[in-house]
C-alpha cells in the first residue's frame, strides 16, 4: 500500500490566519481525500481531490474556507483559511487508486495534522 507523508504534524495558529497542510504520497494515486476529525469525534470527509480537476466538496464545506490543490498524482494540499477556534481538529489525508476496488484494501491514511487555533 502507499506510504503517505503528511505535514505539519501539528501546529498552533492565531485566529484569522491560514494554514496549508501537505500530503505527499510515495506512488501515483488517482484519488486523494481530506478528512476532519474534531476532538473526540469521528472522521468527516471534507473533499475529494482528483488530479486535473476541481476538488469535490461535501455538504457543509466550501472552497473558500478549505481550498485544495492537486498539482500531480503524488501531492495535494489543504488550506484552512481565516481560522477560528472551531477549526481546531485533526486533519487527515487518505488515498486510493482507481484501478483497485474499495473492498480490496481500503484506504491508506496519513498520520494527521493536529491543528489548534487560539
Amino acid at each position: 500500500s502507499a506510504v503517505i507523508s503528511q505535514k505539519p504534524s501539528r501546529d498552533i495558529c492565531q485566529r484569522g490566519t491560514s494554514l496549508t497542510i501537505q500530503c505527499q504520497v510515495d506512488s501515483q494515486v488517482t484519488m486523494m481525500f481530506w478528512y476532519r476529525q474534531q476532538p473526540g469525534q469521528s472522521l468527516t470527509l471534507i473533499a475529494t481531490a482528483n488530479q486535473g480537476s476541481e476538488a469535490t466538496y461535501e455538504s457543509g464545506f466550501v472552497i473558500d474556507k478549505f481550498p485544495i490543490s492537486r498539482p500531480n498524482l503524488t501531492f495535494s494540499t489543504l488550506t484552512v483559511s481565516n481560522m477560528s477556534p472551531e477549526d481546531s481538529s485533526i486533519y487527515l489525508c487518505s488515498v486510493t487508486r482507481r484501478d483497485r476496488g474499495p473492498g480490496n484494501y481500503g484506504y491508506t491514511f496519513g498520520s494527521g495534522t493536529r491543528l489548534t487555533v487560539v
Binding site: T30, M31, Q41, S42, L43, T44, L45, T48, N50, I90, L92, S94, T96, R98, D99, P102, G103, Y105, G106, Y107, F109, S111, G112, R114
Partner: protein, 117 residues
C-alpha cells in the same frame, strides 16, 4: 442515507482476554463493504479488517475476526488474546459499491478500547 452506529464509546479488557466491539449500520444498498480501522494515539488510521457484503464467510485476520450479520446489519469486531498494543480508538466504516471516483467512507463515532495489564 447510510449511517454507522457504534454504541460503545469506551471499553476495557484484560490482557490476553477476548473483547467484542459492536457496530450496526443502515443502508438500502445490497453491495457494499465494511471495515474496521484502528487509530492509536499516534493518530495513524490503520486498516484492521474488511468484509465484502456479498461474502457469507466472516473475515479473519490473525487475532481479529468479524461477525457479519447482513440481515441484522451488524458488523462486530472480535479481538482475541488482547495485547497492550491493541489500545486504540476503533472505527467501523461503511462504503457502498460505486463507480471509481465515488468511493466514500461513512465512519462510526468510534469505540475507545483500553487493554489492561
Amino acid at each position: 442515507a447510510q449511517t454507522v452506529t457504534q454504541s460503545q464509546p469506551e471499553m476495557s479488557v484484560q490482557e490476553a482476554e477476548t473483547v467484542t466491539l459492536s457496530c450496526t449500520y443502515d443502508t438500502s444498498e445490497n453491495n457494499y463493504y465494511l471495515f474496521w480501522y484502528k487509530q492509536p494515539p499516534s493518530r495513524q488510521m490503520i486498516l484492521v479488517i474488511r468484509q465484502e457484503a456479498y461474502k457469507q464467510q466472516n473475515a479473519t485476520e490473525n487475532r481479529f475476526s468479524v461477525n457479519f450479520q447482513k440481515a441484522a446489519k451488524s458488523f462486530s469486531l472480535k479481538i482475541s488474546d488482547s495485547q497492550l498494543g491493541d489500545t486504540a480508538m476503533y472505527f467501523c466504516a461503511f462504503m457502498k459499491h460505486a463507480p471509481p471516483g465515488t468511493y466514500k467512507y461513512i465512519f462510526g463515532t468510534g469505540t475507545r478500547l483500553k487493554v489492561l495489564a
